[in-house]
Assembly symmetry: C2
Homo-oligomer: 501 residues x 2
């Protein structure tokens, strides 16, 4: 009898949570349309509708009803099965995170974000930080306030980190990123002393956009992205989004003079896309049916982009696809192609960075965000500190803000705490590679024949299918037997670059 | 003091109605994505989300809160301004229409419709009515039940007509369509007796899709469709949808062997699109910010497609646009082009029908729907009665159901009562033309120079900008000084075809 009552309550909860998920599906789809298809003049009306939808979601997430569910299940959690437990833990986490934010404040934030994003775009185009400055100040103010609402134990920035990487803290990250930075700088020093000359001219040419579009589809097919449960669209900045697990959309960009940019964008976004497509059907609509954190998400995209995509083995397949379309490449041999693609050079723009120095770009942003959120620096200080850090870490100095502090969209909508995900993704990826090779030492070698099935299955079974059931740390321990350690990724990098240089 | 309280209540009502409108905006956008962009495997999950959204809208439209608003304002309607009055009349109309439908029934209907539509598509492709039959039976059952829920005075079918054309009844339509049918048949008889030979070969060729796409954009620009507040996409069946007045989307289809199909589809949908783009900003979000009825909507699309688009004057502009792109047309002269485009021949497929016989296709559907909804025939009888009526009215007989009863999508989602809109649109259009020419006898002649400004402004001022403020009959009286009469359209047809034949 008692059990019957609990079951009824659980079903009631599930229906409630499913409605939230349906609204989020909707919100994400409307946002996607915003970014890809919407005509210009619709911006204001569209922002109103998105503001409405996000407020409705907010209301459902913070309602008395949710509080009632939490209070009801809290004392009987032990009697529930794993899935139900995870569903409740998840709504509780969301509830506790945002319950203190006043609805009006939240709506104001949601309405300001797209306007700030538009200001960033204009500022970047005109190379004028001052256009962006007042909007960014507003976003920083929101983020500092929200951090207080979210709550934290140690460092205010922890509250924001926790949104993108549940369980992550400044204390942990300082250690992890310290090791990562030192390890990368050591390899970089080795490379800069090397006499190795790498030809890069062979990547140059003029590449028809139409053929690049075809190539993108071939690449997605190669990594087993399901086009019947997804789409490929175009946007200035590539990204991935999903509406549950059967409609996963990746975007890319095309440059006539740069064939590689699209290739690795597509594989990167495809990696995000596979994660979402592989999530178990039973998690759809439960609040758990999506990637668990941005760090784990980036581990998948960067695994595909770099560990798979920039491997000698997989590049042999890519090269033959390229040769089929672009006769300019007919005399390029695999080794020189591999080296050209993996050429290392400290540079200014994160999204164009090589695999090795990429994480340094992230660490710079991490250090700046930490200072900014804790009020140790202000928005007006950003251009200066940005340039100083680029000189310090990468030995290069932006000539203007467009190639400096204005290069990324992330801060414009208040996504402070997001950047660390990229470097965490690299680290998770290295550790996953090590575990995966222990089970099948040929997993990478087999890529030579385009055979990616083992990797596809392994990542699906160890990571993807679980959605948000496990927190990142638990997920990584289950998959690799250990907490996140920096050594695996650094070993991977060392081995790779020692061989090339 | 009293006024202050009423004002507060009105603002409360407006916010409530705006939320409904925001959800409808969302629903329409998600549906559009469904039709244009969605990957195949997403269908089931997407249907769930659409079902959810439509149920939420349904709940808001039939809530106790709405009832409370209606009861509050009913006794004091006289004290309100016109806009507020119209807002309340509109929610009341919606409430009374659907309040009796049980929520579960409504949800079941909304979930069944896309499945039925998919079955129709398969049936049409395979030319097998039996695939569609059980689904169509379900839709007919829903529609008959809904007609009872909606309520009617005279004829059950009136309840459905009223959804698409407020105020329309079988009694009125029998008269109107009777006159229309007789008038058309008279002209048709004249044509069939004529010895006039019209060359049609000149329209044939192979036309690059890419160039057709460019042409479509030029045509939309020509009729002043604002591409910054709209888009052009592609779908098998062209249609128009809008998300308020700043994001209006029209679709078309391209056939390499048929240049005309796209041209008139684009102009037709562009006419729908202009209506929505011209609606006054102050009506957005009030429930009144969209076209008032499908009949008035079709009057705009068919006005642009036929009265403008197939006029000798406008065709001269179209022909020169065509000549710029397709050298095959370089020797075609305007008069032979005009005649070829306006060639009359009774045929099987509604969407390919000429301007004259088009309405006969509609009258056939009207007569069948009337019988079906009133239970005088059943779904199984449809193929036979369809073919009989085509022989009777048009003198042609479908060889199979794909070119017969399976040709239209409309019944598959239960849109019974919609078809008459097309013929009503023709009639409204003829009456508007007559009124417009009284104000400016050169309105059509000026099209020769691509000058469409007078028509654009006139329709905007007389029809478009009012959205749903006036019911169709009131709107037409305001615009033309008279209730809908068949004589204007029939005069237009007679004049046109007597001259050609």
């Amino acid at each position: 009898m008692k059990e019957g009552i609990i079951m009824k309550k659980i079903n009631e909860l599930k229906e409630y949570v499913r409605n939230i998920d349906r609204l989020e599906y909707t919100y994400n789809l409307v946002s996607y349309d915003n970014m890809i298809f919407m005509p210009k003049k619709a911006l204001e009306q569209r922002s109103e509708v998105l503001g409405y939808l996000s407020t409705e979601i907010f209301k459902l997430r913070t309602s008395d009803k949710i509080k009632e569910f939490i209070d009801y299940f809290d004392p009987i959690m032990d009697t529930l099965n794993d899935l139900d437990k995870a569903i409740i833990k998840n709504i509780k986490k969301n509830y506790n995170q945002i319950k203190n934010i006043p609805e009006d404040k939240y709506r104001e934030f949601m309405m300001s974000a797209p306007i700030s994003e538009a200001a960033w775009e204009e500022a970047k185009e005109k190379n004028d930080f001052s256009i962006y400055e007042p909007h960014l100040e507003k976003m920083v103010k929101f983020s500092r306030e929200f951090a207080e609402y979210y709550g934290y134990e140690d460092n205010k920035y922890d509250a924001l980190l926790n949104i993108y990487e549940p369980g992550m803290t400044v204390k942990k990250l300082d250690k992890i990123f310290g090791e990562l930075r030192d390890g990368i700088l050591e390899i970089l020093e080795y490379i800069q002393k090397s006499n190795k000359f790498i030809k890069r001219d062979l990547l140059k040419g003029k590449f028809s956009i139409e053929k690049q579009r075809e190539l993108s589809k071939e690449l997605l097919k190669l990594i087993k992205f399901d086009m019947k449960a997804g789409r490929l669209d175009e946007s200035m900045h590539p990204f991935t989004t999903n509406f549950w697990n059967k409609d996963v959309r990746v975007t890319t960009h095309y440059y006539e003079e740069d064939l590689m940019s699209n290739i690795f964008s597509v594989i990167h976004e495809g990696g995000h896309g596979l994660y979402e497509q592989h999530i178990a059907d039973e998690l759809v609509g439960t609040g758990l049916g999506t990637g668990v954190s941005m760090g784990i998400h980036e581990s998948q995209s960067r695994f595909y982009e770099n560990i798979v995509g920039r491997s000698n083995e997989f590049l042999s397949v890519i090269l033959s696809l390229i040769k089929n379309k672009f006769p300019e490449f007919k005399d390029v041999n695999l080794d020189e192609f591999y080296e050209a693609v993996n050429y290392v050079e400290p540079s200014l723009i994160r999204t164009e960075a090589d695999e090795l120095t990429y994480s340094l770009h992230i660490i710079i942003r991490y250090e700046i965000e930490k200072l900014l959120i804790n009020g140790e620096i202000e928005v007006k200080d950003l251009p200066k500190i940005w340039n100083e850090k680029y000189v310090e870490y990468l030995g290069v100095e932006p000539k203007n803000d467009s190639e400096g502090v204005l290069q990324d969209v992330h801060w414009s909508d208040g996504s402070f705490g997001y950047f660390p995900s990229y470097a965490l993704g690299n680290l998770y990826g290295g550790q996953l590679l090590s575990a995966l090779l222990k089970e099948n030492e040929n997993a990478i070698i087999d890529l030579k024949n385009g055979n990616i099935s083992f990797i596809d299955e392994w990542l699906k079974e160890k990571i993807h299918k679980y959605g948000c059931i496990y927190e990142p740390e638990e997920l990584i321990i289950n998959a690799t037997g250990e907490k996140l350690l920096t050594k695996y990724y650094l070993e991977y990098l060392k081995k790779k670059y020692m061989k090339i240089y």
